[in-house]
Symmetry: C2
Subunit: 193 residues, 2 copies
């Protein structure tokens, strides 16, 4: 069925997903009706059921897509071996910025996926597992201190991303670049004078 969707149909489908993310984030999943979603998207209920079997299926699709993209981003955290030491901070900042830029693009969806969804903790665990892998590679390559426990450092990173994101990114009070630079400063050099 997907195969036969016209370009116009694809645009409608995308509009429905975007509207749903906004409605879910504003009202919560339970209180959002299909009629709210189609109204926000400027479409009809018939259009909705052309592309989605139910509100639940649509929600699952939103979260699943978010999850795939975040996994892809988290997997990029291993620093290419051979990078000169002075380039490492630039790379760490760039990686964090990519993550924050993604999380800030659709703040509503971010709030759903990282807070409201029953999969929120599973999504974070998946990210943490990739950060642990990257951390170990970066330790072997000599970029990250060998005494650190990778599992602990990864939980710390997730905790930082999570709170900074909810406090300043999804509220649009700070942009991805600023937050990435501020978090990288704490993460890379610690707080001690």
């Amino acid at each position: 069925m997907e195969r036969s969707i016209t370009p116009k149909g694809q645009a409608s489908r995308a509009r429905l997903l975007q509207a749903a993310a906004t409605e879910f984030a504003a009202k919560g999943f339970a209180a959002t009706k299909v009629s709210d979603i189609v109204k926000a998207a400027g479409l009809t209920q018939a259009a909705f059921y052309l592309y989605f079997s139910s509100k639940e299926a649509m929600f699952a699709e939103l979260v699943q897509e978010f999850r795939e993209q975040l996994k892809h981003l988290a997997s990029a955290g291993a620093i290419a071996s051979g990078l000169p030491a002075e380039q490492v901070p630039v790379q760490v900042k760039a990686n964090l910025q990519a993550v924050f830029a993604f999380l800030g693009t659709m703040p509503e969806l971010t709030k759903i996926a990282l807070v409201e969804s029953p999969d929120a903790e599973a999504i974070k665990s998946e990210m943490i597992a990739m950060v642990i892998e990257n951390m170990k590679k970066n330790q072997e390559a000599g970029y990250v201190r060998k005494e650190l426990v990778p599992e602990v450092a990864a939980e710390c990173m997730m905790g930082m991303v999570d709170r900074l994101c909810m406090k300043w990114l999804v509220t649009q009070d700070k942009d991805a670049e600023t937050l990435a630079a501020e978090m990288a400063d704490v993460l890379m050099y610690g707080i001690l004078a």
Copy 2:
């Protein structure tokens, strides 16, 4: 009325609070009945209503007490000025250990206060506000890097404590001392080699 509680009565009251924390954490607040609490405490419904007006009042008391104690601990994070630089890491570790020790004493209550309670985010915000104050004092005293944004560093700390606590402390997989040392290492010196 409080004034007339006998020592035996005080012990019963404490047993009810302890049992309630365990039941709330295991079943959630809504699914826990007063009958579950009194059964777990080995007491009667009559005893319960001698000390608490309702399940809600008891829950509020548990969370309120937790909140007061945590606030007290967080306020201790400013490093006494005049401390020799080499003692600062010892002090930071000790402060973190006190926080983790408190959070680990009644893991059920910690889960309620930091996750399940509607006040969870308010409790964290209160802690963060104190950490920001301490951070500023520690910057002025020259213990913490002046380039750091105190608000950002404080959110990062809260994120770390939160995740490490839920991952290893309330599950009793790591003790307060180990977690404090591992978090202090990341927090004080950062991850870069």
